[in-house]
């Protein structure tokens, strides 16, 4: 079962997508987007992992010891912070939508007919 982490990432992606497809509220949809994002983080970090290795920080042991991949960690950590800012942007778009159209139900927000 050495593809279990990848399957967990695929499971998170699929149920997050299910939540997006069947949402009744835009804020709920934004919450499901964060689940989809966490699926990608798990996949990236699982690709870079080495069994029995330590963190790629060599402050207290010499640089020859086995360590996991630092490149995927750099990708994921900037992604988490920037993803939170983009989520806040989506929330403020939902706020503007409520102010102008009066509802945040995706089924009631058909394009305006005029």
């Amino acid at each position: 079962m050495s593809i279990f982490p990848y399957l967990a990432a695929a499971w998170l992606f699929l149920i997050g997508l299910y939540g997006v497809v069947t949402s009744r509220d835009y804020v709920y949809l934004i919450g499901c987007l964060t689940v989809i994002q966490s699926a990608t983080y798990v996949l990236l970090l699982a690709v870079g992992y080495k069994l029995g290795a330590g963190a790629p920080i060599f402050a207290d042991h010499p640089p020859g010891t086995p360590a996991v991949d630092p490149v995927v960690q750099a990708l994921v950590l900037t992604d988490i912070v920037v993803g939170a800012a983009v989520t806040a942007l989506l929330l403020s778009l939902a706020l503007q939508l409520q102010k102008h159209r009066g509802t945040i139900d995706p089924d009631e927000l058909k394009p305006t007919q005029d």
Partner: protein
């Protein structure tokens, strides 16, 4: 694959499902905070302390704050109408 990582992945699958199955946005925010906590424990088990730093603060402080404040404005706007 160690037991800790397998256990944390199983718990993460369940909390992720919990976020999606919670339809009320305010309760979903708390489910997201729990998901963030399990995620940061998983990152620590995968030997990624920098990533765990970011995820703890964002998942349990920044994102729940943004969501609760946005929901409070939405409710005030709905009541005002």
């Amino acid at each position: 694959m160690t037991l800790v990582i397998a256990g944390l992945l199983a718990i993460l699958s369940i909390t992720g499902l919990g976020v999606v199955l919670t339809r009320d946005p305010r309760r979903q925010t708390l489910a997201m905070a729990a998901n963030g906590l399990v995620l940061s424990a998983l990152f620590l088990a995968l030997q990624a302390p920098d990533v765990a730093f970011s995820e703890i603060v964002i998942g349990s402080a920044a994102l729940p704050l943004f969501f609760f404040v946005a929901l409070s404005s939405l409710r005030a706007d709905r009541e005002h109408k």
